[in-house]
Symmetry: C2
Subunit: 140 residues, 2 copies
Amino acid sequence: MTYSIGEVSKLLNISISTLRYYDKQGLLPLVNRTEGNIRVFDDTDIECLKMIECLKTTGLALKDIKQFFEWCEEGDSTIDKRHALFLQQKESTERQIAELENALKRVNYKCEFYKIAKERGTTSVPGLREELTLKFLVTS
Amino acid sequence: MTYSIGEVSKLLNISISTLRYYDKQGLLPLVNRTEGNIRVFDDTDIECLKMIECLKTTGLALKDIKQFFEWCEEGDSTIDKRHALFLQQKESTERQIAELENALKRVNYKCEFYKIAKERGTTSVPGLREELTLKFLVTS
DNA sequence: ATACAACCTAAACCTGACTTTAGGTCAATA
DNA sequence: TATTGACCTAAAGTCAGGTTTAGGTTGTAT
């Protein structure tokens, strides 16, 4: 089964320009061409693209995905490198989540603050710390 | 108490160029200048900067922070807008966290996979799905 | 008075992941 | 055969949030 770039684009919901961009970045080294220089994708390429999408979701940069593919092709001698890559990515993802959880607390406090302010028609709410006061944001 | 740009930079651990950038973007409208055109920061400016740092952590874009400051200055008539801003930010932050949690699961699976592969010296691990197989990534 | 660190500006550059543009080619249909 | 839609390339543009560069001014210590 083969596909044109337009078909792949619709199938995977990736824009044509993005597909060409990935190809140019060396992420799709296996894509064939017709005599007339037109890309012909097969199922292997489709799988490769789904893999890229997947790895991207984990927060991997395109260059790291390319590197990962290259290591995969090199075989078992690169297992350590691949392991290290994902350990690093795990740390990074956990750090991002922790930061966002923290941020979420602040945002939630803000939502609460403005909910009450809205009910009373003013931000001068007794019992709540001053809106523009540093302490509010830093300690909340 | 007043501070030079260099002092503020060290105090808040924000680079001088970033401080000048914020000023240029209109995020520090209150910063005074000497007759010789040199910035003089006071405690209000310091608080303002800490506020910016804080709002940035919540994922707010600089232009939204600027907008928020402007709304604060306009007074109680903008409470609804400010409330809406933070509700939106709450949604967005929750969405980001959910995506990262999902990504983390995949990364953890990868870490496990390579830990075992490392022990055995090969990625051909019986009982584990094939490394480069789509199904692994999509379902894991 | 002179050196020198710290300050100033505008404008160009940077990163990453694309998108857009301009100009041209290919392939299938009428 | 002519049109038209899908394809091709290289290169420039986009976004945010800065950093770097180039060239010039200020302020302070000796």
